[in-house]
C-alpha cells in the first residue's frame, strides 16, 4: 500500500518538477529576448 502511495506521489512530483523546469526554461528564453529587445529599443532609429 505505502509502496504504491510512494510511487504515485513520486510520479506526481516528477511531473510537477518537469513542468517547473519547462517554465523556468521559458523564463530563461524570455530573459534573452528581453535583453535583445532592450538593446534594440536603444539603437533602433525612430520611425
Amino acid at each position: 500500500m505505502t509502496l504504491y502511495l510512494f510511487l504515485g506521489y513520486t510520479a506526481v512530483w516528477t511531473a510537477l518538477f518537469l513542468y517547473l523546469l519547462h517554465l523556468s526554461g521559458r523564463a530563461r528564453h524570455l530573459e534573452l529576448q528581453i535583453s535583445w529587445l532592450r538593446e534594440r529599443v536603444k539603437t533602433e532609429p525612430r520611425p
Partner: protein, 229 residues
C-alpha cells in the same frame, strides 16, 4: 546560472528523499495507521507558510524604508508562495481532521489560526489587484503586510484562549509519540519544503524582474516614438 540548475536538481532530490522517508522509511502510527503520514507534509507546508509571511513582513518594512521595487517584488513573490503553502497546510489539516477526529473541519486552535492566516494573505493579494499605480500598490500592500503580520501572534493567542474555555469536544488528536524514524522524516520534509520555497521564490522573482524590464522597455519606446527628445 550553473549553480541555479544544480540547486533545482537538489530540490528535486531532497523532496524525493523526503517522500521515501515519509512513505517507506517511517513506520505507520500506532493509533492512526497509514493516514498519519500526511502529517509530514502538513507540518512542512504550514511551516513554510509562516516562513513566507515572515519574509513578506521583512520585505514590507524594508520597502517602506528603502523604497526600491526589488523589496516589493520580494514581498509579492513570498505572499503568493506563502498562500500556496498555507492552503496546502489547511487542506492537509482538514484531511487529518477527517481521519483523526472523524470530521472534515474541527475548530481546533492551530487549524483555525492557519485558516485566519490564509484569509489575511488572500486579502493582501486581493488588495494588490485593486491598486494600479505601482508605487502606491507597493506602499499600501506593505502597510497591510505589516498589520497582518503583527496580528498573527494575537490571532494565535486569542484562538487558543477561546478554545480553552469551551468543553473539549475532541481529545487532542492522540498525542503523537514520534519515533526516531518519524522525526527524521519530519525534519527531511521541512528541509526539502524550505528548499522548494527558496526555488519557487527565485523563479517568481525572475519573472517579476522580466515583467518590470518589459514595462521599462515599453516606456522607453513610447518616449522615443512620441518625440520627446
Amino acid at each position: 546560472m550553473r549553480w541555479r540548475t544544480a540547486f533545482t536538481w537538489l530540490v528535486f532530490l531532497s523532496v524525493e528523499i523526503s517522500l521515501f522517508l515519509a512513505f517507506l522509511y517511517a513506520p505507520p502510527d500506532v493509533v492512526l495507521g497509514e493516514t498519519q503520514r500526511i502529517f509530514y507534509f502538513h507540518v512542512a507546508s504550514a511551516w513554510n507558510g509562516l516562513l513566507a509571511f515572515t519574509v513578506v513582513f521583512v520585505a514590507a518594512v524594508a520597502y517602506l524604508m528603502k523604497r526600491t521595487p526589488e523589496w516589493d517584488r520580494l514581498a509579492l513573490a513570498s505572499t503568493e508562495i506563502g498562500v500556496v503553502f498555507i492552503t496546502m497546510g489547511v487542506v492537509t489539516g482538514s484531511i487529518w481532521a477527517r481521519f483523526a477526529w472523524g470530521v472534515w473541519w474541527e475548530w481546533e486552535p492551530r487549524l483555525t489560526s492557519s485558516f485566519v492566516l490564509w484569509l489575511m494573505y488572500v486579502t493582501l493579494l486581493v488588495l494588490r489587484n485593486l491598486v494600479e499605480d505601482p508605487d502606491r500598490r507597493a506602499r499600501l500592500s506593505a502597510v497591510f503586510g505589516i498589520v497582518a503580520f503583527v496580528d498573527v501572534p494575537v490571532v494565535f493567542m486569542s484562538i487558543r484562549w477561546w478554545r480553552s474555555v469551551h468543553p473539549v469536544v475532541v481529545e487532542a488528536g492522540g498525542k503523537l509519540n514520534l519515533e526516531p524514524p518519524m522525526v527524521l522524516a519530519l525534519v527531511a520534509s521541512v528541509i526539502s519544503f524550505t528548499l522548494l520555497y527558496l526555488l519557487l521564490l527565485m523563479e517568481r522573482l525572475t519573472i517579476s524582474k522580466l515583467e518590470a524590464d518589459l514595462a521599462d522597455i515599453k516606456r522607453t519606446w513610447k518616449e522615443r516614438t512620441s518625440g520627446v527628445e
